[in-house]
Symmetry: D3
Subunit: 191 residues, 6 copies
């Protein structure tokens, strides 16, 4: 299921949405359901993906693209968000070149194959997802000790916040992950 | 406190941010702290306010602007978000022309001076804020019985989702409400 | 609403209740609803206000009357008790001469404009309200470091305990705050 | 342990406290620790026992003294209050003439040897103890169907509220039950 | 009640079950209900008691049989398991030669008459019962400091795990404790 | 990691353990870590696998082997048990011939591709895993309406109970899933 709400025909979408969706399809081989589930609201669609892209298509020395996906997986799992865990789990496996990492982080990030830096990142991210009112400046210290800048720490928190929204939109719409995501990044690409 | 993170000088902001901030200041009499707390990230700032405006500056027969503010107050209170409760509580009082409604909804929405329609709206909104994974299509029925369309129901859920993000950004930044908000909408305007 | 239960006529109350209610009305300008909501049980009424007065009409060097009201606001907010948050929030604003403090403590005491001593006081009070079985003697130490005596610590705990009862009586009766409370202490008195 | 706080000598207590304590000792054979744990505060002591006596030393057709003790046991167990569970469990066994009932209600009231009326009473009482903000007038209906009057329903709620306070005072003081309570009501009295 | 499910006649049970049940009856004076509640499934019965006996009929310098019963009482109380609290509470009183210890550990193990070693044992056991995903190797340290070997620590965890199963089987079947258990170990044996 | 505790050499294990482990290895192609993690305790090992086999190697018209594995996945996910989710998720995919079902049930069983019967099964199983004290006979009715016999209902509950134990043993030992499990059942077997 793509959505409990209206899903417009792709050909009726505003040109900028069509263009982006065509690009994603070309690159990924299919259109992830979230693109169509939000499409009945072009203004919100634009804001959502603008927010998403600026936080996720980014790489710093202390916070790789793979790390960012793991934040999504850990916090979405805390919200039982199937779409986000499966879709971003796929991307996380690819980015981290580790076919086990998404299942580990989704089920029990405390025992996942992470280094110390990643563990502090997920600890803050899950706190922001689950009990954000307890966040104090002192919770940033372990991340700083692992080399994260203030900009990186903001990214950790902002990604957790963005997917707090995303998880809830998905639960509202009842969006399921595309079948293709489940297997992505699990088997070595043929050479 | 505006933020635990960098707060750029207003004069150094991109022109579109400056323009909007000037407009808000002119209309409201001061610059709400959230505008400056997010300003170190212009891309995110633009996405956030685009999302916000399209959902909040809207009025339908079954979901007024005041109702939308009450959704923000109820869900932000569930997240102990002081900035959002106080700032949107002020707007809710003004929109609903009721000086008590924000304190009521923030502390115990079950006992607030609401009609049956508003109560079903807040019940769904709080569910999405607190345990979104339990949302099923059947939870939309009580809202439909009170005249909400599918578009209205999406708005209820999307506002709850947007402020799930907003609350977490505020807790991340440690942003406090401007002093002016506390009193707004509590005393009748002088004629 | 004053109560889901019987509310006797003021003139039919025992003389001592009438006298106290008259005094309160004279001093405050109205009769707070709790006085009438409990009045169908004069014995309980007397015990309740005797307990209340001995703990709340008191001031020590390390625990002012305003501090005591903040304990009520913080613990009552943890119980979503609208009457107690609004009524004692009003008194707290007046006692603390701070028009913002009650809203802050009610929504997120961790971020409120408090000094270190007040923060330790509210931390113990909220623990007693929410998970009293975890209280150990070691939890008194931070309060002692801020100058609280054993008598003061008892007061902190006893106020939290008394309002655990009071909050539940109010939820039982469905008592709403008087309209007058909402604005009290928010605007400077005319000179 | 009687208390983490001061425990005055019995001979130094105000005469009315001494008199009541003497009476209890004569009747019960020992002085329950709560009488001494609260004695450093005679005003509070008087209010507490006045409240207690008016609610607990009472019997109506639909709410016996034994039922009242079971409310105390069920709600105190929800708060892990050892003193109240053991002391009032003893009284409950005696009043209900059932040596198993207190252990059952303390551990799992849903499976205890109760009739339908008692079950509705404990269900409301535990709701008031644990999540009082959810109480609505509709929750009184099952009790009315079992013959409870409004006065009885108030008693159920007020007892749950009083012991919400009592449990917290005991956790504050660290008061342990007297050894005598553990066995009371478990073995048939010698004839 | 022995069970919501089938309870076979004792004479129809496989000989090994009959033999063990006869032995227990001879030793204890009655047949504990759990033996009959599980008897409709001889394979499971055998596995359950094999597991039980190897962990509970054991004594090491740092973990006595009485300590093992206290683990059962504390973790079963966290699961509101009436049968296990009452039946193993009886054995705990006898093994520990303390008529108060089971009621204390069941209601509030933090305040029970335990030494420091026992407290660390129950702290780990309750953690495994309630939030096992948080267990880290560092949580074993306090037990090691009190002389527990790795084998002892495994026993603590395995007993908590076994009764996580046992508690759930009992709740599934609705098994009540035999009347005899309530009084066992409370009164000194006649000499 | 196989375990935080001793892992004996395979050649030093009792012959019956060696034999079973050899069989599993031959059939599966590797030795699942749980077999070695429990091997330092042969008595417990035997009881555990006896219990496991009698409940899991079984198929009835209303409860297939695949259904049984889904019970394990759903309840183990509620306990964040990585080993059980990944290992039994692999078996569930194979048994149910559905490469998506395990990820769905682990993350959000409410939205998984299940039929009505399976949904009632998982609803009871998760209740037993998470809040077993609330189970009443009435909770069996929806399963009966879907054709489950009393024996099937017992199996649902007993599997949930067994893995309540298993999950806790795994968290105690810190056992990680074998790498092989992650991919099993995700790609069609070559013909």
């Amino acid at each position: 299921m793509i959505s409990r709400f209206a899903v417009p025909a792709r050909t009726e979408l505003p040109p900028d949405l069509q263009e982006r969706i065509d690009q994603v399809e070309e690159k990924t081989g299919f259109v992830p359901n979230i693109f169509m589930a939000l499409a009945h609201r072009p203004e919100e669609w634009r804001a959502f993906f603008a927010y998403h892209d600026t936080l996720m298509d980014k790489e710093t020395p202390a916070l790789s693209k793979g790390d960012r996906e793991l934040i999504v997986v850990a916090t979405s799992a805390a919200n039982n968000c199937l779409y986000c865990v499966v879709a971003h789990g796929a991307i996380a496996r690819i980015r981290a070149r580790n076919p086990r990492i998404a299942d580990q982080v989704a089920t029990d990030w405390r025992k996942a194959e992470l280094d110390g830096r990643q563990r502090t990142v997920l600890e803050l991210a899950v706190r922001i997802a689950v009990e954000p009112w307890t966040v104090q400046a002192e919770h940033f210290e372990p991340l700083r000790e692992h080399g994260l800048t203030d900009d990186d720490i903001w990214d950790v928190g902002a990604i957790a916040a963005l997917f707090a929204m995303s998880n809830r939109l998905v639960h509202l719409a009842g969006t399921m992950p595309n079948d293709e995501f489940y297997l992505m990044g699990r088997v070595p690409k043929k050479s």
